[in-house]
Symmetry: D2
Subunit: 509 residues, 4 copies
């Protein structure tokens, strides 16, 4: 040991260091420009978009010269207390972006909380991302081969590596050149010291909207901060964030568009043409978005009621009442009840306070912890024929537990109605259902699922029925999780640097 | 100053030290005997009863010899983390009582968190109280005159002073003698080192039920802890706590009854006859209790639906939809929709994540914080005639804000329907509405209220209509907040020591 | 069980509910009048007196009308963060009292944290206590028999019961009448809404001093708060608290004196004559007080150096160096080195950062956690003859561990010198050594102790040697822990209400 | 705005994104192999090295396949509570590295806390670094130009970029190739999933030692974890960490050496020859290291006493006592007293509990917060001629405040003695003194400094005097902060990739 002679060097097990990579993200983004309370307003907007992600959240701000930020694990109000918001406000922000991150099935790592803030040759950049890239892993591998290091396990970090690389930096529009390299779903908010830039993928997978907050003045009548003529620009994943802040909705960011927001105004440019066939995520309407939001130009709550009505038309049954699974099945159940004329009754009551319970040991306590979340109203259920309505079934275990609770409470018949088709294929574009094998409907007939759940009848809304409730041509909706019709092939993403998708290439200089 | 000669002594401003007393409490109690996981099970039961009080919570345990406990401000899961539960479990409890405390209008003080744990001549005692005493202040004053000191500002502490005083201690049954001195509403759980004693006032104001948790065995087949023949006794304010733990409901505690629960079994005795006219709180059905609970022998959800049906019968109106105020008006709205045949639609969507928001400064931010809690679905509201259903109106300010939001979203007509009569009188028995002057309906006609709220029509369910939905004779329900018909006169409580109410006196020895 | 017939009532095991009483307290008190930053200044003074108690701390403030406060477990800076101090400051205090509580051997309970704040017939009162009463238990029992309830297990609460009782309230000076009932050591700071009253027992057991903070003015030249002519009055256990705040020391509170501090000035009165034989605690000089303080009219550091010099004279030995046990033996070691001419060398280095270590499992880790606190400098110790100086030995286990560490590091000879006599008797007046049996010197000769510790020689300073270093007549010092000469008999406190000690009786009206 | 036409692209202000870079680090590192309690033992070792850095700390562990870790701001016991240690332990670590980070003058950022954990082409790597690189900025700039992104502002991250880059990866020994590229001070601990590799720069700037923890067995006699024949290998910055854990010291890591520690044993290799002229940091002896440690082969406490003796020889003066500035001047003061025969007396007493005080507003409170840290013993100081001994003066402001306190307490004469020469030049190799202009001695004669401090005489130990106290040739010690004799030119670091320092080049393949 005391002989300082070079010896054979140990190497880590070869591989790509990918043991802990996470892949799927379903998130919310927001950006606000020119308001001195940008951080606090972003916090409120993130609160309004909390349903889009509960794993972690963060805010990045610019004071015009440098970026700072704060991220944490948990819900927005758990991460940001008054001290933290105060500290962010003290630095005199002129702009802020925020991010809500979804709790994925795999391990959750604090290093993945967004917005990411990194330094590169052009200065600092913050980034918040909603969606999922299918060529991130290939790009990451290529960069690792070129000697780059990665701090997170998320697909978002690769976007900054692209932006920072000489190839893009040499381009007259490095950001556009970067975005042309991405394949998959991305609604992005970039924060630079002197501007916000937002962009949406050419397939329009995830929503992203622009609005204006009304200009405010201080007590002397001078405008607060630096409003544009129409007010302070705000971008967000959903219109509900605009509504909460009292902002006026202007329009969606268009597929393939970049908006650059700064003191000089808002400038739009394209990094790609819209895809010939868009891929608007129909699951935003079925489950993910806030009912009060307008998504892809249509109100979510209204769509969900129509899904319920359509379900009543497709699968009518004589019963005592229509009963929603709270809170997810409530809108469709109301539609079903309206269409069928069967009374709407709530026989399952959620406990509004349940978060974590610190209960481990005995079986009895574990069962209690489960029952705590949903209380069954025996008087409404016992001896009755029930039509139970829910929005979707993923793995089936939770649904089975709920059906069992209803049986134990004395339900005579249970007719389960689901307001979308069976989910049989994984999503590679931003919804982390589960792996293929964990999907109850993967490789199973509806009758098999019915037996597993122990219900008297089971009907899923048909693909046609579902698409009849949403606007626009059916071909512009992504229904891959139901149909397997993937717009991009996740197994064969385009990895090489020049061969981009055609609608992007024409913008390349 | 250097002359140590006695000088005139300064006295505090004379008075009764009552500057900071709180009066009203609306809470939940629970007690579990004989189970080694009594503390953890009590925690789960408190979680199930969280809707009865969100200001503070606590658990007191006995290891058979001494009491310890833990209380804190906030929600149950905020107060009890795994470490705290672990610590309580380590002491080897054989019994536990728990308490949820309601957030009252006035200042909230951590010293008022329950269960109280105090020492007196007979040892230690823990106490959890649901209800409110009208003679507490008079008794407190009498005790202060006799030289007693008070640690809290709650009416509950006086019960322990009564129990500790020689007058009661000399009695063959000090606890019964103590309870005979109390006027008002009280469902009580006492924890002594060797027993739990629970009691309910002779008027039956607040609910209190008994059940059994099924006996459990360890891996060797020996029973865990010390179950009774039927299982581990559990008492709770509501049946939902029993359901969550998988306990079997046995019966209500009777008015004027004490149950003593110990290793020797459960012994029932009376400290008073039931009042000739009971005072069951009808507001438990209207608003307070969990829909899944059976309260005063009737399911709460079913009662609420019937209130909505009755409302439809009393005040029909042509409209596009029946819309609940979430979450309070949902049950009655379903009943109204069912009875009227008008579709049930949810046009107001609650944000499930809103707790505290740390927003102070500008008007715009404050308005946003309000909108954050409820998102209006414009597409459902705009241009429509709405029947909006809620359970009650207290001060009216929140309701007005909601109606304004609906108008701004373009509602064409708003017909507000309330599933109970106007609240015109304060409650002195456990519901902290507000002072008389703060009640919107106090001294105001319905038409005045309608104008204030800015709705097109307003109807409150009649007293008769409401009482037709609940079981039993109308005279046994307390409707004082609607009718002013107080069972006991809060202004003239019986304060002197011997003159107790007649139904109690016959038990005095 | 369904038969509501009175049955035999279960009683708790008879007794006095005293299972969990704590007895000994060694603490610090402070009080500040008239300064708007009274709470923050009190916090600083408590910080300066942190050495007098690390278990818990608290502040009570008056805004002129009502008292509020905050207490917690741990060190002053752990309990009071900026938010808490801010909150106390916001209420506009005109006065504050503070308390540091000592970590006693037995269980520590958060309910015992001081200042106590209670309500009684005359209003609110806050109380901070340094010392220990020997008749507290008897008084508590008497009060419990009279029906009083107790919230804490400390001896301090009984003082408020005395004050509140009609017997004292009827007196023209209830506070003086209360103090005349107390037997033992007490330096007290009472906070009433309109005044601070401080008092010291007739035996002068514990220190208590008065000073003035210089008056301050705001930017307009108007005085801040309500200073007296000489400034803002401050009382504290030790002069170091005055020094830290820049206050001028005026004098000690005299034995048997009450000072009443209010807007009307400072008024002195007596509740008792000084005891014919005082009982100043010599252990304040030996160990407890801050070296920078003047206690009982003499500087502590100087006294400690003299104790070391005297030790060198009493027990000289040839050695390589004089080595202090850090930090307690440093002053005496310097004195020993100076007197003996043997070099002073620090061979044991404390780790300044050690608090709690979260290490449980293995023996190796436990040993490491012990070594972490004190690092031995092998180069200084190995092969050397050491004179090790410490201030005292209580249980002996820690000392033995330290001696073993020195031996393992290769010490050739260890001559242990202790700067006070063997502690052979418990203290009932405010120092919580241990029980009699836990004292290493109880019933053991010095030679036995030397063998147990494994040192080559051991010398304790003689009683005469020690008393030669402090001013005043030897008879006025309490040396009970060394000599067993107790000023009051702890086993037979005067419990009955009229028979007070003679020096108090002449003041009774 | 609605015209999606490419517009001129805004760029961030050009530059290198370096606004927030921190440069200096003075830290502690530790690494433990093969012990199942590696995380907890690392925590204890970090506790023992807490004096080397109080800003942040962290632990990274390997379970043999993947790395995880935890870092935080503050002291070791503030960052690691029992839950966090438990969580790290649960993952079944086989190795851990730890890091203490120094609080630098500039802003402290949580992203800079170490160990860094990053992914690169060969997998994961964790890194803890003590020292400072002078070519980090140039390398970082070069990497940024090549498109790399940076997550931290510390110089350590560039080491991982080097390691990850193809140039090094292509080398038969990528780690050695990486280290050859570094200029400056570096004692490094790398954690790979299957091994720890530690290295020390060819100049030996910072200490780094190897030891063995004794092998442990479980209750069945089987060895715990995977000890080597001599025990579990441990590396640490200082021997005190080994002592605390009961580990046996083996030897220093040699300049230019890499140790690879794995299940296969410990293998030593060289990445460079030792520099012809070493640069051992003499300031480790003067101030930085723990007195109980042996650093560069010599005990620190003994060296410090010798510095005091030398000081007494160089600058004798008649005085009443020798008084240390606590705690830094204590060792030298003892040496001075021993050599001069003048008594050692402690007239300044530190408050052991002072951390942060939350005091802002008034001047009086600020002054109090300063006095809180050090209490002057007036009785020892007043009217006396004092020799005050401290280890060094950096900016001079703190020293001046202390001297003023002594004057106010009545000191008659103050003779200040400093146990090292004037610090006139910044350190670029790991001690963050301050910038050149902030150094009181920069460009000032001793007489000027004496007048500024207001002392009667001032003497700094001479360079020769200082170097006479440490072993080895004077030319092998780095005294740049005193003499300006920098071993490497910080203004002209070798930046280009091939031209390495000669002693490294011969190892290049």
């Amino acid at each position: 040991m005391h002989d300082p002679i070079p010896l054979p060097v140990l190497r880590s097990t070869p591989g790509r260091g990918d043991a802990h990579r996470e892949k799927k993200e379903k998130c919310g983004v927001v950006g606000i420009w020119g308001h001195p309370a940008a951080a606090r307003l972003t916090y409120l907007a993130m609160y309004a978009q909390q349903h889009r992600g509960q794993e972690s959240a963060g805010i990045a701000i610019s004071d015009g010269h440098a970026l700072t930020g704060f991220t944490g694990m948990g819900l927005v109000p758990e991460i940001f207390d008054s001290d933290t918001l105060e500290k962010l406000a003290r630095s005199g922000p002129i702009a802020a972006i925020g991010h809500n991150r979804y709790s994925t099935a795999g391990g959750s790592l604090s290093c993945n909380a967004q917005p990411l803030i990194e330094s590169y040759i052009a200065g600092q950049v913050g980034l918040a991302h909603n969606g999922n890239l299918i060529n991130a892993e290939a790009l990451r591998y290529a960069y690792e081969e070129a000697g780059h290091i990665f701090h997170t396990t998320s697909d978002t970090e690769v976007i900054i590596h692209l932006l920072a690389s000489p190839q893009q930096q040499k381009s007259p529009d490095p950001l556009a050149a970067t975005l042309r390299r991405l394949q998959g779903a991305f609604s992005l908010a970039f924060l630079f010291p002197d501007r916000i830039e937002v962009a949406r993928d050419p397939w329009a997978w995830r929503p992203l909207v622009l609005g204006y907050l009304p200009a405010e003045a201080d007590e002397t009548g001078r405008p607060l901060g630096k409003p544009h003529e129409q007010g302070y620009p705000i971008v967000a994943s959903e219109t509900v964030a605009l509504d909460v802040l009292g902002a006026k909705f202007i329009r969606e960011i268009e597929p393939g568009e970049i908006l650059c927001i700064s003191d000089r105004g808002i400038h739009s440019r394209r990094f790609a043409l819209p895809a010939p066939r868009l891929a608007k995520c129909v699951f935003e309407h079925v489950y993910f978005a806030n009912p009060a939001s307008n998504v892809f130009g249509q109100n979510v709550q209204t769509v969900r009621e129509m899904l319920g009505e359509k379900l009543a038309a497709e699968a009518p049954v004589a019963a005592d009442c229509v009963m929603p699974m709270p809170d997810s099945g409530r809108s469709a159940a109301a539609g079903y009840a309206r269409a069928s004329g069967i009374p709407y009754r709530e026989g399952i009551v959620p406990n509004r306070y349940v978060g974590r319970t610190f209960i481990k040991p005995s079986q009895a306590e574990r069962a209690a912890a489960v029952r705590l979340k949903l209380n069954v109203v025996s008087d409404i259920v016992a001896g009755k024929k029930l039509i139970v309505v829910d929005d979707s079934i993923v793995r089936g275990t939770t649904t089975k537990a709920k059906m069992d609770q209803l049986r134990q409470a004395g339900a005579k018949e249970i007719h389960l109605r689901i307001s979308c088709p069976p989910i049989r294929h994984p999503c590679y574009f931003g919804v982390d259902f589960a792996t293929r094998d964990q999907l109850i409907a993967h490789g199973r007939e509806v009758e098999e699922i019915r037996r597993f759940l122990g219900v008297d009848s089971l009907h899923y809304l048909t693909l046609e029925g579902m698409l009849a409730c949403v606007h626009g041509e059916a071909r512009h909706w992504c229904t891959a999780c139901y149909s397997g019709d993937y717009r991009l092939d996740p197994e064969h993403p385009v990895t090489d640097i020049v061969a981009d998708s055609p609608q992007m290439a024409m913008f390349e200089q």
